[in-house]
C-alpha cells in the first residue's frame, strides 16, 4: 500500500484554505449550506494539526494498519472503511457546495435566491404579526377575528420556515443520516413526513383493526410517534409480549413533531378482562401517570422512573392473561392535557384509586384530555404467565377458563309434516 498521507495532507489543507478564502460567498457551515455563519471550528482544527501525520494521524484519512492500530490504542476509531480513507487521501476533498459542476452550481444559485426570498417573507410576516399584536382588540375587529388572524399568520410562518430550508441538500443528507436537530422546524417536518409515510399507517391500522379505537376511546388521531420498549427490545404495535417481559414498566420514546413542550397523561388500559358473572369483559387500568412533560428534543419517558409523588397515579401492574381466555389488548394512550396546564396531582390521585372498570372515556371527559398518541401490545397465556401470576399474587392463577358448552338444538326430522 502506498502511504501518501504525509505528502498530500499539507497540500490538501492549502487547497481547502484557498478555496474557502477565495470564495467568500460559498461558505460552508456544518448544519446548513445556505446559512452564512462564522467559521470558528475550522481555525481551531488547523492549530491542532501542526504535528506530522505519523505523530498525530487523522482518523478520516489514515490508511496504514500501523497508524490505525495506534489510533485505536488512543481510543479513536478511524472513520469509514480503509478503502474509503485511502481514496480520500488522493481526492481534492472539495466541500459539497463547491463541487465544480456547472448545472449544479446554477441550481444552487436558484435555490439560494429562493431561500433569500423566503427569509425576506419571514421577516415581513413577523413584523406584520407584531403589528397586529400591538393593535388594540377593538380596532382589529374583535377578539375572535384577531385571534383567528393571528393563528393563521403563525401557521403560515411555520410553513415558511419549513419552505426556507426544504431545498437544502445538506439538510436532506443530515436527516437521512439521522443527525437532524429536532429543535429546528425543518427536521421536525421531515421526521413527521417520514413517520406518516409508514409507521403511523401501521399504528392506525392495528388500533382500528383490533377495535381499540371504539372500545377504549371513541376516536384518536395520532400526532406523536410512540415507540415502546420492554427490556430494551422494541415492541411493534399489536405484538404479543411474554408475561415475564412485561412485569416491569415499559420505556417510551414519544416523538413530538411540534415546537414547545406539552404536558401529557399516559394511560395503559386493558379492555379484555373476562367477567364470568356477566359473561362479558371488563376494563382494567394498568398504569396511569399525569403531568408528563414531552417535547421534540426530550423524547424518552421511562414509566418506571416517573416521580411517585407528583406524576404516577396508578403504578405499573404486570398484565397477565388467564389460561383459556382470549388475548388481552393492552392499549397505551398518550393524552394531551388542555393548554398544557398541569393537573392537580393530589386530587387526581384521590379520585382515581380504583383500577377496575375505570373507563378512559370518563377520564377524558373529566380532565379535558385529548388523545394525541397510541400504542398497543397484546398478552396471552404462555409458559411464563403462571410464574408471574404467583409473583404478583394474582387471585385466580389456578383457574382455566372454558367456553360454555351450548346444548345442541333438538333433532329435527328431515321430513316434517310442513314439508309435505
Amino acid at each position: 500500500m502506498v502511504h501518501c498521507e504525509r505528502a498530500s495532507k499539507p497540500l490538501l489543507q492549502c487547497l481547502q484554505k484557498a478555496s474557502t478564502k477565495g470564495l467568500p460567498a460559498l461558505q460552508v457551515s456544518s448544519t446548513r449550506t445556505f446559512q452564512t455563519s462564522a467559521r470558528v471550528q475550522e481555525e481551531a482544527q488547523s492549530e491542532a494539526q501542526k504535528l506530522p501525520f505519523n505523530k498525530s494521524p487523522d482518523p478520516a484519512l489514515v490508511s496504514s494498519p500501523r497508524l490505525e492500530r495506534r489510533l485505536i490504542r488512543q481510543g479513536i476509531s478511524p472513520v469509514g472503511s480503509r478503502r474509503r480513507r485511502a481514496a480520500l487521501q488522493g481526492s481534492a476533498n472539495i466541500p459539497f457546495a463547491q463541487l465544480p459542476y456547472q448545472c449544479f452550481q446554477e441550481a444552487r444559485k436558484v435555490l439560494l435566491q429562493d431561500r433569500e426570498e423566503k427569509l425576506a417573507d419571514i421577516t415581513r410576516l413577523r413584523e406584520k404579526i407584531s403589528r397586529l399584536e400591538a393593535r388594540p382588540t377593538e380596532e382589529a375587529g374583535g377578539e375572535q377575528v384577531k385571534k383567528s388572524r393571528l393563528g393563521g399568520m403563525q401557521k403560515h410562518l411555520e410553513h415558511l420556515k419549513v419552505l426556507a430550508d426544504i431545498n437544502d441538500p445538506q439538510v436532506k443528507k443530515k436527516f437521512e443520516d439521522g443527525q437532524g436537530d429536532m429543535s429546528k422546524p425543518i427536521y421536525r417536518y421531515l421526521a413527521d413526513q417520514k413517520w406518516r409515510e409508514y409507521r403511523r399507517k401501521i399504528l392506525v391500522q392495528r388500533i382500528t383493526q383490533m377495535k381499540v379505537i371504539p372500545d377504549v376511546l371513541p376516536h384518536c388521531d395520532p400526532i406523536v410517534d410512540t415507540k415502546l420498549y420492554f427490556n430494551r427490545s422494541a415492541v411493534q404495535p399489536g405484538d404479543f409480549v411474554l408475561a415475564n417481559a412485561s412485569t416491569t414498566a415499559p420505556k417510551l420514546d414519544i416523538q413530538l413533531f411540534e415546537g414547545g413542550e406539552k404536558l401529557v397523561t399516559i394511560a395503559v388500559v386493558d379492555p379484555d378482562v373476562p367477567n364470568l358473572e356477566t359473561d362479558g369483559f371488563d376494563f382494567r387500568t394498568h398504569y396511569l401517570a399525569v403531568n408528563v412533560p414531552i417535547s421534540a428534543t426530550s423524547t424518552k419517558v421511562d414509566l418506571a422512573q416517573l416521580s411517585v409523588e407528583s406524576q404516577v397515579v396508578l403504578p405499573w401492574e404486570a398484565p397477565v392473561t388467564q389460561k383459556g381466555s382470549p388475548y388481552h389488548r393492552l392499549s397505551l394512550f398518550i393524552l394531551e392535557q388542555k393548554d398544557s396546564q398541569p393537573l392537580d396531582f393530589a386530587a387526581v390521585k384521590a379520585k382515581e384509586s380504583v383500577r377496575d372498570n375505570q373507563l378512559l372515556r370518563t377520564l377524558q371527559g373529566r380532565y379535558h384530555l385529548k388523545a394525541i398518541g397510541a400504542h398497543l401490545f397484546r398478552s396471552q397465556w404462555d409458559e411464563t404467565t403462571l410464574e408471574v401470576m404467583e409473583k404478583i399474587g394474582f387471585p385466580l392463577a389456578d383457574v382455566e377458563l372454558r367456553r360454555k358448552k351450548i346444548d345442541p338444538l333438538p333433532y329435527k326430522r328431515r321430513n316434517p309434516s310442513t314439508f309435505r
Binding site: A107, L111, D114, N167, P169
Partner: protein
C-alpha cells in the same frame, strides 16, 4: 419436449404459426434421450401427456412473465444507480428545476390576472366615464353577429403562443370549387 414460453406462444398465435398444434398433439418422442431423462417405468404405465400431467397450480401469472421478460431484456436500459453525493447533486438540480418551473407558472398566471383586471377596469371606465349613459359599452359588449356573418381571419388556425416556423403562407389561394 420443452414447453414454449407464453410470450413465444402468443407471438406464434399472432403470426398464425402452427407451433401450438405441436403442443396439442400427444408427445410421442421415441428415442434414447427422452427415455433417459424420464423414469422409464412411469412412462410405460401412463397414457397421460407429460405436459398435462404437470401440476396446473404452479403457473405464473402472464403479466408477471411479461414484466420479467421486458425487465430482463437486453434492450432494457440498466437502472439508474448514483453514489450518495451524485444523487444529492441530482436531487438539488431537480428541486431547482421544479422551483424554477413553479416560479414561471406563477409569473404567467399573475400576468394573465393583471391583464384581465386591466381589461375589466377599461370596460368599467367605458361604462361609467364615457358620458353617454353606457351606450358605447353596451354596443361593444354586444355579441350579435359575432362569428355569424364574418369569421375573424386570426381564428383560421389554432391560436399558439409563438408564430409558426414558416410564417404566413402568402401563396395560398382558396381551392376552386367544381
Amino acid at each position: 419436449m420443452r414447453p414454449l414460453s407464453p410470450v413465444l406462444a402468443s407471438l406464434a398465435n399472432v403470426f398464425k404459426i402452427p407451433i401450438s398444434q405441436t403442443l396439442a398433439r400427444p408427445a410421442i418422442v421415441p428415442g434414447p434421450v427422452t427415455a433417459a431423462a424420464q423414469p422409464a417405468a412411469a412412462r410405460t404405465f401412463s397414457s397421460t401427456n407429460a405436459l398435462l400431467k404437470r401440476k396446473q397450480g404452479a403457473k405464473t401469472d402472464r403479466r408477471i412473465t411479461l414484466i420479467r421478460y421486458f425487465l430482463n431484456h437486453p434492450l432494457t436500459p440498466r437502472p439508474l444507480r448514483f453514489s450518495r453525493t451524485r444523487y444529492l447533486r441530482h436531487w438539488t438540480i431537480h428541486r431547482a428545476w421544479q422551483l424554477f418551473q413553479n416560479q414561471q407558472r406563477r409569473a404567467q398566471t399573475l400576468e394573465l390576472e393583471r391583464q384581465w383586471h386591466a381589461m375589466n377596469a377599461a370596460c368599467e371606465e367605458l361604462r361609467t366615464g364615457a358620458g353617454d349613459g353606457g351606450r358605447l359599452f353596451r354596443k361593444s359588449m354586444n355579441k350579435r353577429g359575432v362569428f355569424r356573418d364574418m369569421f375573424p381571419i386570426e381564428y383560421g388556425r389554432l391560436q399558439t403562443d409563438t408564430p409558426a416556423q414558416e410564417g404566413w403562407n402568402h401563396a395560398w389561394v382558396r381551392p376552386e370549387r367544381r
